[in-house]
């Protein structure tokens, strides 16, 4: 029974994606006459990919997305861990309030501040730079990261840290000591913050729509739009746009999903 439910839904989840990928390797005639069949020797064709590579700028978009996601992710993890460390390790005046203040952002979509974010980035001269996206995504990701990392930091044995203090370690060194201990939390922070950043269309469209700073999602959105009548290129560009994410997902899925379920329990 369980298997029946799961297999049925797995087909529903997979079929649309497989359909696009399979048809991207077929001739134009075959795409229309037999869309449900996988490519055969008679119907196999790479024409769509050739069109896309001769016209696209995909490598650049991909590199932009990679830079934005990696730098923002690194900032979120480092700054988020530092704030979570301070909130979970020290009792100081206003601790609870600072924690609540930082948690506010979990529930409020940052998009609602777009009008002022655009003013702010243009005042700082950051429009059409990757830094605009990096800083906005960092601000967007921090609340949840601090929240999750705090739960993990609380579980670090206090005796261990006190022993380090007696040995005369500075608080900064102790933070360095704790960082590797919360590695399991990193996966769940990553899945909650990285996927939305990579897939976002809103901020690239508004803050960095220039050709030099286009991300893969914005690039794909406009690029695919050009091929509305060229079905080979349309299917090929869609396949190319989702392949990196899917490859990364399959590679990391075990950790990502474990992190997600672990993060959700506590």
């Amino acid at each position: 029974m369980a298997h029946l439910v799961l297999i049925t839904y797995a087909v529903i989840a997979m079929l649309p994606v497989l359909l696009i990928v399979a048809n991207s390797f077929k001739t134009r005639a075959a795409i229309f006459s037999q869309p449900h069949l996988p490519p055969w020797p008679g119907t196999f064709s790479l024409i769509g990919y050739l069109t896309v590579f001769s016209r696209g700028n995909f490598e650049r978009y991909f590199a932009n997305s990679l830079v934005v996601t990696c730098v923002a992710m690194a900032l979120i993890l480092l700054l988020g861990a530092a704030a979570a460390f301070a909130l979970s390790q020290y009792r100081f005046k206003g601790n609870t309030w600072v924690g609540l203040y930082l948690a506010l952002g979990i529930m409020i979509p940052i998009r609602l501040g777009t009008v002022s974010i655009l003013n702010l980035t243009s005042a700082l001269g950051l429009v059409n730079t990757l830094w605009a996206l990096i800083l906005v995504y960092t601000a967007q990701g921090l609340p949840l990261a601090v929240f999750i990392l705090q739960q993990f930091m609380r579980q670090v044995p206090r005796d261990l840290l006190d022993a380090a203090r007696i040995d005369g370690m500075s608080e900064y060194r102790i933070f360095g000591l704790v960082l590797p201990l919360v590695r399991p939390a990193v996966a769940s922070v990553a899945v909650f913050t990285m996927v939305p950043m990579w897939n976002d269309l809103w901020f690239p469209l508004i803050l960095a729509p220039g050709e030099a700073t286009k991300t893969v999602t914005l690039g794909a959105q406009q690029f695919v739009g050009q091929f509305i009548s060229d079905w080979n290129a349309l299917l090929a560009s869609l396949t190319l746009a989702m392949l990196p994410v899917l490859a990364l997902y399959v590679l990391l899925s075990r950790q990502l999903l474990r992190g997600l379920t672990a993060g959700a329990i506590k």
């Binding site: 369980a2 298997h3 799961l6 839904y9 797995a10 529903i12 989840a13 997979m14 649309p16 359909l19 696009i20 869309p35 900032l75 700054l79 530092a82 301070a86 909130l87 020290y90 009792r91 100081f92 601790n95 609870t96 930082l102 506010l104 529930m107 409020i108 979509p109 940052i110 998009r111 609602l112 501040g113 777009t114 009008v115 002022s116 702010l120 960092t138 601000a139 921090l142 609340p143 601090v146 609380r154 206090r158 900064y172 933070f175 996927v195 897939n199 269309l201 508004i206 794909a220 079905w231 349309l234 869609l238 989702m242 899917l246 899925s253 999903l257 379920t261 672990a262 959700a264 329990i265």
Partner: protein
């Protein structure tokens, strides 16, 4: 577990009397907190507050004059904005309702199936079922646009195969069904999130609870309704509020499949696309940051109402069992 922080341990143990005296705030705490708090304040809190402020001013010949709630009144009554606003709000609630009625129940069913004990291939199922969730709205929008396209005929062919070919329509191009169709596309993409949240909650229930019920003769159905569902009720609330808030973020899917005008004839226009159009302008209408900020402000208050209901009504009522 509220706060397990012990005293600031770096300083030498001071006699109790001097503890009363004000010590300087330890620098290292500031070093740890300030970078995160700074970026967060500058790029999230400040823009949100500033945006709310902008919505209270009238942009008159260069200098801004305080206008109170005039912009909101305009949004709710002016014939240029009000019909679009109310329509978009209604569409947002349709979008939300479809997610609550389709996505979350199916997500729960999948989670129950996924959490059944001694299930073979659990990791593979989980990987496959969550996969659409990592794709971007843009890709998902295009994929379904192609599949539902009468030009390609894939959906029609599939429906013919099960004898329902006569019911196929180009739904995305029809005023009535377009919004529900797009909601279902979004459900298809995001079902992985409620599924995993429910799955995690179900895994946290100790086996003995379920076994004890079985020994007492309860059927699987009764066990679910009487034991498992009450125990995961807090997660039901979390899923509902996440769905509610996420619904106001929906922009990408509509923009990709139907464009900024959210066609056909604005039938898929939600607050996200309405906000975008008003802020940036479209076709002949110029962009209007003030009214854009006003729409964002209205969305903020609508979200706030939902979150407050969740915090003060749902969370107060729901029984949380310590497992």
């Amino acid at each position: 577990m509220k706060d397990t922080g012990g005293g600031a341990p770096a300083s030498p143990p001071a006699p109790l009397v001097t503890m009363r005296k004000r010590r300087p705030f330890p620098t290292y705490i500031l070093v740890f907190l300030l970078p995160a708090a700074g970026i967060y304040t500058l790029f999230m809190i400040y823009p949100l507050i500033d945006s709310l402020r902008v919505s209270l001013y009238a942009p008159e010949d260069g200098r801004r004059a305080f206008a109170g709630l005039a912009n909101y009144a305009r949004l709710l009554t002016d014939s240029l904005y009000a019909p679009r606003f109310w329509a978009a709000l209604r569409h947002n609630f349709v979008f939300f309702a479809v997610h609550m009625l389709v996505q979350n129940p199916i997500g729960l069913i999948l989670a129950v199936a996924l959490s059944s004990r001694r299930l073979r291939g659990r990791v593979i199922y989980r990987t496959l079922l969550f996969m659409p969730t990592v794709l971007s709205f843009v890709i998902v929008g295009f994929i379904w646009q192609l599949i539902l396209s009468p030009l390609w005929g894939v959906a029609e062919g599939l429906m013919q195969a099960v004898g329902a070919g006569a019911y196929f329509r180009p739904w995305l191009g029809m005023e009535g069904p377009a919004l529900v169709t797009l909601s279902l596309v979004s459900v298809w993409q995001f079902i992985g999130i409620p599924m995993l949240l429910f799955h995690a909650a179900l895994l946290a229930i100790p086996d003995e609870f379920v076994e004890a019920a079985r020994v007492d003769g309860a059927s699987g159905w009764t066990t679910f309704w009487r034991i498992e569902l009450p125990l995961i009720l807090p997660t039901v609330g979390v899923v509902a509020i996440l769905t509610y808030v996420g619904n106001f973020n929906a922009f990408d899917l509509i923009y990709t499949t139907q464009g900024a005008l959210a066609g056909p004839n604005f039938s898929t226009d939600i607050l996200g696309t309405f906000f975008y159009r008003t802020f940036f302008g479209f076709q002949l209408q110029l962009g209007n940051p003030t009214m854009g900020a006003t729409i964002a402000g209205a969305m903020f208050y609508i979200i706030l109402v939902g979150v407050l209901l969740y915090l003060f009504v749902w969370q107060r009522r729901v029984q949380v069992y310590e497992l």
